[in-house]
């Protein structure tokens, strides 16, 4: 075991893993964190804690992750290279380990121009792949970048990365995933998937390259709340591809039934994703909709008991 995390043990035992995303609040209300943790903690293997997502200042992912640990849940600490240089990032890896955090997701992060601090200086000292390699070096060699001085102690960490199968150039995406696996990624959580046939093409390449045997791939899904959200994501969120058929279903949903339709579509997508070779788990990103995760897992037979956990 590289980390001793629950997520790692579920994946290594060959069982289907489920993770879900928790967005920290804009403020420091612990009750909000606790309420979301309660919705997710007992029904998923690990909870991703986003790091100032969309470049909006929020309660820190480190603080929320530490709180989840203290509540008995397992976090996946998301860490972006937008806001910290290699000194701060590596220090935070050590900090995460000392707080009992065992999973990390290494990301470059949404560009600062998207958020509420548009004139912040973007750091980007290193990128997400270089961060993966840095965490692996700390874990496996006990050394930080550019140094051969051994670190005291032992950092155990299950290293995650993201990949977007739908962003261009698509033919390069499986190869970039291989780069991430070679850099040290133990698991991959994908961008949210709506276009199953495009994702199948991606996974075909991934399995042909044997990458599903080198790292665990968790398919990302985001339930749609409304046609408005669907069209916004399709048009405005780079790298999200929503097929016309899904957009039409959301558009044609009867008044007040948008959310139900979105959940139904999400469940159908999950059923299909589970059957794709190389998909070892599900990553559910219910944006400010953590309350519906249980229902989705119930409907798709993915509650822990259904997965022999």
């Amino acid at each position: 075991m590289k980390s001793g995390s629950r997520l790692e043990s579920v994946l290594d035992s060959g069982k289907f893993a489920v993770t879900a995303e928790l967005g920290p609040p804009r403020g420091n209300l612990n009750e909000k964190v606790d309420a979301k943790a309660k919705m997710l903690g007992d029904i998923v293997d690990a909870i991703n804690v986003t790091d100032n997502q969309t470049a909006v200042v929020r309660l820190s992912s480190m603080a929320v992750s530490a709180r989840l640990v203290s509540l008995g849940h397992e976090p996946v600490l998301q860490m972006v290279t937008r806001d910290r240089n290699r000194i701060a990032l590596q220090s935070d890896v050590l900090g995460a380990a000392s707080l009992g955090i065992k999973n990390m997701l290494c990301l470059s992060g949404d560009h600062q121009s998207f958020g509420n601090q548009k004139h912040a200086k973007g750091v980007y000292d290193i990128d997400s792949l270089q961060l993966i390699a840095a965490v692996k070096r700390i874990r496996d060699e006990g050394m930080i970048l550019d140094s051969v001085d051994p670190l005291e102690g032992e950092v155990r960490m299950f290293i995650g990365a993201a990949e977007n199968p739908f962003a261009e150039p698509r033919e390069f995406r499986p190869l970039r995933l291989r780069k991430k696996a070679e850099a040290g990624a133990d698991f991959i959580q994908t961008q949210c998937i709506y276009d199953i046939s495009l994702f199948r093409e991606f996974m075909k390449e991934v399995t042909d390259l044997g990458l599903h045997e080198r790292c665990h791939i968790l398919a990302g899904v985001t339930p749609l709340k409304s046609y408005r959200m669907a069209s916004y994501m399709a048009e405005r969120v780079a790298g999200v591809v929503i097929p016309e058929s899904i957009l039409r279903r959301m558009k044609d949903a009867p008044e007040g039934k948008g959310a139900e339709t979105g959940i139904a579509i999400c469940c159908e997508l999950i059923e299909e994703l589970r059957s794709i070779e190389g998909v070892h788990g599900l990553h559910l990103m219910a944006i400010e909709w953590e309350s519906r995760v249980r229902e989705i897992l119930e409907k798709t037979g993915l509650l822990p008991a259904d997965r022999d956990l």
């Binding site: 980007y124 270089q130 977007n164 780079a238 790298g239």
Partner: protein, 223 residues
């Protein structure tokens, strides 16, 4: 070349408002080439500032002169004979030129009329594009001559990120995705292999002031 842009007139006027005599100094180097700091711009700025001073009823004696370059002391020396007649100097050079002039006349306020924006190219008349961040460790050999430090919004070393869309950057659909362009160019050259291995972290060299001694002059500067 270095590209610069004239500051808003109100901002410049704010700097010189209390000034009764002003020497406006152009630069015939980069900022003249990008049509912001040459003799024509010196004259134009003098006229516009003069009009504002008149409006405010605060007369200011102004004179304009354009130096060959403000980043070389031998050209700045030309000002020695006349600078004493003015309360302040308004420079239309890049930030380097402004500082070099200020260094020569440390008792005098030397004010910048331009914002230095980037190192770039002249795409067409009046159209400039950034091309270099002077990172100090040129990576262009393996990227098809396209700089990701400059042209990728996140300066990613192992792009493209998940935000490339129709070959465009997620930050602004007007901006091409540098990594998509790198991929396409290398593909055309049959050199995609350079994208398949991890590019390690950059040893950033621009954290402290650059100082460089040419090999042939090491003895002269004792370094």
């Amino acid at each position: 070349m270095v590209i610069a842009k004239t500051k808003p007139l109100e901002e410049i006027f704010g700097m010189i408002r209390s000034c009764r005599s002003l020497l406006i100094v152009g630069c015939a180097g980069c900022t003249a080439l990008c049509l912001e700091g040459g003799p024509r711009e010196v004259d134009g700025l003098k006229d516009r500032l003069g009009a504002l001073c008149k409006e405010e009823g605060s007369p200011c004696r102004m004179e304009g002169i354009t130096l060959e370059r403000q980043c070389e002391m031998e050209f700045i020396e030309e000002l020695d004979a006349i600078e004493g007649d003015y309360e302040a100097i308004l420079s239309l050079a890049c930030g380097a030129g402004v500082q070099f002039v200020a260094e020569r006349y440390p008792r005098k306020p030397v004010l910048p009329a331009l914002n230095t924006t980037f190192i770039g190219v002249n795409r067409a008349v009046g159209l400039y594009e950034e091309r270099c961040r002077s990172c100090g460790d040129c990576q262009l050999a393996s990227t098809g001559g396209i700089c990701f430090v400059t042209l990728c919004a996140k300066s990613l070393f192992n792009g493209p990120c998940g935000g490339s869309h129709n070959g465009r950057c997620e930050v602004d659909p007007e901006i091409p995705c540098a990594w998509c362009a790198i991929y396409e160019r290398l593909k055309g050259q049959g050199r995609l292999e350079s994208l398949l291995t991890l590019r390690p972290p950059m040893a950033w060299k621009n954290g402290v002031r650059g100082l460089q001694v040419h090999e042939d002059f090491k003895d002269r500067y004792g370094r």
